[in-house]
């Protein structure tokens, strides 16, 4: 993948993180071996999935949108994932996502736009954009959260290149569909491929980004490379991974979770402590790595940037 490099290379702030991760890996490998010898238990190998080599992304621009909250560890971010294309367990993506090939990669872009529909190579997608670090809170609909140092660029900048027309009211995203490499797609837990969507003004909001990396490195397979969406004011499942298709559409697309369980997951899925999931409260959540639950903030704390998008909207009905 082509990653733009700016001339001066700063030393990364995450060296400690890498050391930390290596130590943890060593401990887990050692304990795994010991346990295997002792008990031969089947529960082992929870995080046996190998971490692949990654490309470092040097000299990232900082962003005023970044939070200064403490980051979650690289290990947490890359071993506790929801990516149902690889299984339903949080550890499944780390275990099985390396079965997916991400090169070559192109994104089909089509729909209500002035530019002709095209399969755009990943390098051509990335070339014009300056990558920046965006440290965002991520709030999962399951009532946990992380703080993730994404690397990416504004989704709006990408969208504008294709000159969507006035009929393009929504942007529809589709994940790669490749059951032979994505074992979760071989069972009919959801309708595949995974689909998500944003209203055009949501998509153009500067908080919405396309991410290509985390912690200054390209994304691991379990994180949805080479391109994934990050919309920090919405529940995590809106941030679709491994995007294979972007469409500009007139009608509101039906997103996969809405198709699966319509009364529990809506199109908007904004983080909202006042609108509970039918089966659990959204008023509080547990930050991963913290002991106590904390109150959930409206729009995940991004109300200043996004609340105006929903002026006059009934957020209980449009959950």
């Amino acid at each position: 993948m082509l990653i733009k490099q700016a001339p001066d290379i700063r030393s990364s702030e995450i060296t400690d993180e890498r050391l930390y991760r290596n130590r943890r890996q060593f401990i887990q490998a050692a304990s795994g071996a010991a346990m295997g010898a002792v008990a031969g238990a089947t529960v082992l190998g929870q995080y046996g999935g190998a971490l692949q080599a990654q490309e470092p992304i040097p000299n990232l621009q900082k962003s005023p949108f970044s939070t200064d909250e403490a980051l979650n560890s690289y290990e947490d971010i890359t071993t506790y994932n929801n990516f149902y294309e690889f299984g339903m367990d949080k550890g499944d993506p780390a275990r099985y996502a390396d079965e997916m090939t991400i090169a070559p990669w192109s994104v089909r872009v089509e729909g209500e736009m002035n530019k002709p529909a095209a399969d755009v190579d990943i390098d051509d997608i990335l070339r014009p954009h300056t990558l920046e670090e965006r440290i965002y809170r991520l709030r999962c609909v399951e009532a946990w959260s992380m703080v993730v140092p994404w690397v990416g660029f504004p989704l709006g900048d990408l969208i504008k290149r294709f000159e969507p027309t006035s009929k393009a009211n929504f942007v529809k995203f589709t994940t790669l569909y490749r059951p032979e490499e994505m074992r979760g797609q071989r069972s009919r837990t959801m309708e595949w491929p995974y689909v998500e969507g944003l209203r055009m003004d949501e998509a153009l909001n500067p908080l919405a980004i396309i991410a290509v990396g985390v912690y200054g490195k390209t994304l691991l397979n379990q994180q949805g490379p080479p391109l994934r969406l990050v919309v920090p004011w919405k529940y995590g499942f809106k941030s679709i991974k491994s995007i294979a298709k972007i469409e500009f559409v007139e009608e509101q697309p039906r997103n996969s979770w809405n198709v699966s369980i319509p009364n529990e997951y809506g199109f908007y899925s904004n983080v909202n402590p006042e609108v509970d999931h039918p089966r659990w409260s959204q008023a509080r959540h547990r930050p991963i790595g913290a002991f106590f639950r904390v109150p959930t903030l409206m729009f995940n704390g991004y109300a200043d940037q996004v609340a105006s998008l929903y002026d006059g909207m009934d957020l209980v009905r449009n959950y």
Partner: protein
């Protein structure tokens, strides 16, 4: 036969041992509280089902020695249920009783789980030989039929909390259905004239009572 009992007892502690091991080696995942909650919940249901399987197995195999494990397995179900509930009470909510009360009232899966746990309490309290004698066999037996409701509540609790894939809780539901169905079948088989059944259909305290104590 009696020599097996300490081994079974030790085996029942393996799930706890694995949790502790993971706790000391950093293997409890990024969300340890959730992990502990899920594993102790899993083992509560498993021990409930194993305990409920004893009587049908005994009747089918005629191996009356099985009965001596029933109380222990039932108490281990309660043990893991207590760990499960304690995790929720202490680690998850840290005694925030107002929030817990809301949770129990408003979340139907919590309501179901809490109901199941509460139903197990009198069974654990009356599990001693002395309590069996004090209550009298018939009353004790009737009281301990609550375990059917507790196990059902536990499975429903699991079924209601899963986000999407109901196959794992359905496995538990299917096993429970078989175990309860077998009991019904025994009962009707015994009720039919001409069919003899050597043991009491409802679980038979005298047969099951631990001969050791």
């Amino acid at each position: 036969m009696r020599r097996l009992k300490p081994w079974v007892f030790a085996a029942c502690l393996i799930p706890l041992g694995l949790l502790l091991w993971r706790g000391f080696t950093g293997g409890l995942t990024a969300n340890p509280i959730e992990y502990i909650t899920h594993r102790t919940g899993d083992w509560t249901l498993r021990f409930l089902l194993i305990a409920l399987a004893i009587t049908p197995l005994r009747r089918m195999t005629g191996w009356s020695g099985l009965a001596q494990f029933r109380r222990m397995l039932g108490l281990f179900a309660f043990f893991y249920a207590t760990l499960h509930f304690s995790t929720y009470l202490v680690l998850d909510f840290f005694f925030a009783f107002d929030l817990i009360l809301d949770d129990i009232v408003e979340r139907r899966y919590v309501t179901a789980g809490f109901t199941g746990f509460v139903l197990l309490i009198p069974l654990a309290l009356t599990s001693s030989q002395r309590m069996i004698r004090r209550l009298g066999g018939e009353r004790w037996r009737r009281l301990h039929r609550l375990v059917y409701a507790a196990a059902t509540a536990g499975v429903v609790h699991y079924l209601w909390l899963v986000k999407l894939d109901i196959r794992p809780p359905m496995v538990y539901a299917a096993i429970l259905a078989v175990l309860l169905g077998v009991r019904l079948w025994f009962r009707f088989a015994r009720a039919r004239p001409g069919v003899t059944s050597g043991v009491d259909s409802s679980g038979g305290v005298p047969v099951d009572a631990d001969p050791v104590r």
